[in-house]
């Protein structure tokens, strides 16, 4: 059988966002993959240099629609580090609550998309229905469902009062049995296992070598999570990374399943321990200097670098997103698999192209 090359994407029923993979196949087997990105480039890094630094929070939140809060928080932490701003403890806990809620809804969305990638439509609908409760909690506490816009430099803009906290606990209580009803399907269903077990294997040494991050690395046995560095209030809440050792699509699914429960527990824990006090400190002056920080997105480690020159506008803002570093890992997973498995394996790294291309 001669070799044949054909494009997979940028428009494909399974891909949530635009990436093109040029697949070279021999019969039904993939032998070579070449990615092409750049379909969703928006020039956000450059736009951030044209905006006053305080307004960039809202711009950075728009890098990604799913983990928008974490992007905003990462930008705020970078500027706070340059300006040596001490964030009040209550704001740190509120940041953890909202980031973990973002993770919860991102993972539920991804579990639905995985089910959708091999045509399990009913499971997809169930996952997204469960996710609605998390979005409702976010809307109630922040004012918006997806782009929260609550994080600002020096703290957070909104507070969770006792009444809201009680309602939030009630809503989260109804969420738990619904997650419990959906998750066993991912753990025990024959269809899901047959499409994911042993497919797209990434060995641990390869994962480290290629710089894989997030659930892609943890699914291969690498115990690394940026939350272990203890930013925001993670050091006080106690945090253990979720690790699986098989390195296949199923292991990555299980990592996300376990992280869904972990995020749920962290939200409740942070809500219980929420300290009293201010939620915001006033920030004066302009950033002068540089800083780089790392935070954990649902897809992996997110890196922000900012350089300020003492004016109201930043000299440079650099964002490195997790999908960008996971693409090399994806390219080593794909050769050897069958064409029908390509969508599932591509989805198993949870690609977010709007993050990657900014």
């Amino acid at each position: 059988m001669p070799r044949m090359t054909f494009p997979f994407g940028p428009q494909h029923p399974v891909l949530p966002e635009a990436i093109q993979l040029k697949l070279t196949v021999e019969d039904e087997r993939v032998v070579e993959v070449l990615p092409a990105i750049g379909y969703m480039h928006r020039g956000i890094e450059k736009a951030a240099e044209k905006n006053p630094y305080l307004n960039n929070v809202f711009l950075c939140e728009r890098i990604c629609g799913i983990c928008s809060f974490i992007h905003g928080m990462a930008y705020c932490q970078t500027i706070e580090e340059i300006m040596k701003v001490e964030v009040p403890p209550r704001a740190e806990y509120l940041r953890v609550i909202w980031s973990e809620l973002s993770r919860l809804h991102s993972h539920l969305l991804w579990l639905g998309l995985l089910a959708d990638s091999f045509g399990f439509e009913s499971l997809f609908m169930q996952c997204w229905r469960v996710r609605e409760i998390v979005l409702d909690v976010l809307e109630m506490t922040t004012g918006q469902r997806v782009i929260q816009s609550t994080c600002v430099i020096g703290g957070v803009r909104r507070d969770i009062d006792a009444e809201q906290a009680a309602r939030m606990r009630e809503m989260l209580k109804t969420l738990k049995p619904q997650i419990d009803a959906v998750i066993p399907v991912f753990k025990h269903d024959y269809t899901i296992k047959s499409r994911t077990v042993g497919r797209g294997v990434l060995p641990k040494d390869q994962a480290w070598k290629l710089g894989a991050v997030g659930p892609t690395l943890r699914g291969s046995g690498g115990a690394w999570d940026a939350r272990m560095t203890g930013y925001a209030a993670y050091d006080e809440l106690g945090f253990e990374p979720m690790v699986e050792t098989d390195g296949d699509s199923y292991a990555r699914t299980l990592v996300r399943v376990r992280e869904t429960y972990q995020a749920y527990e962290l939200v409740l824990k942070a809500l219980d321990r929420l300290p009293e006090g201010e939620t915001k400190v006033k920030v004066k002056g302009f950033p002068n200097g540089e800083a780089a920080i790392r935070v954990e997105q649902p897809r992996g480690e997110l890196f922000y670098y900012a350089l300020g020159d003492g004016t109201s506008h930043l000299e440079r803002l650099k964002v490195r997103t997790p999908t960008f570093v996971n693409i090399p890992a994806l390219l080593t997973m794909l050769p050897g698999c069958e064409i029908a498995d390509v969508p599932v394996i591509v989805l198993s790294i949870d690609p977010c192209m709007s993050c990657t291309e900014r």
Binding site: N56, F58, E139, G143, S149
Partner: protein, 126 residues
């Protein structure tokens, strides 16, 4: 498959999982950021809202002391972050919970909330 029976019974007799829109609308949470209302008649033209707006959706035209000074607001450029409503000390900008209704054209609103014509916008670079 007997374990499916309770689920089937629940699905046949229970309420639907979705809302019957538009007859039944989703209730808004208090504090949701849905619709922005501008009333520049109480405005003192301090220009703070223009400075904090991350989307450049608000613009002051003219000088504060000018008699024909005015404010323009572009609802279609607005991202509803409500920072302007937060900084306005005179209650000229308020945020409401219900969402904006769909519109058939992109309008820019003037000082009294009236639509502004294209030529005026072009002349003022907004």
């Amino acid at each position: 498959m007997p374990w499916m029976i309770p689920n089937i019974a629940k699905n046949l007799t229970g309420a639907p999982a979705t809302r019957k829109y538009p007859f039944e609308k989703r209730p808004y949470f208090p504090g949701a950021r849905g619709r922005l209302e501008v009333d520049f008649l109480t405005c003192t033209f301090c220009g703070l809202c223009e400075r904090v707006c991350p989307a450049q959706a608000i613009k002051k035209i003219g000088d504060k002391k000018d008699p024909d000074v005015t404010m323009l607001y572009k609802p279609f450029a607005c991202i509803y972050c409500a920072r302007c409503a937060e900084v306005c000390k005179f209650g000229s900008i308020k945020i409401f919970e219900e969402h904006t209704a769909p519109a058939d054209r992109k309008l820019t609103l003037g000082r009294e909330g009236e639509p502004v014509d294209e030529e005026f916008l072009l002349n003022n670079g907004f």
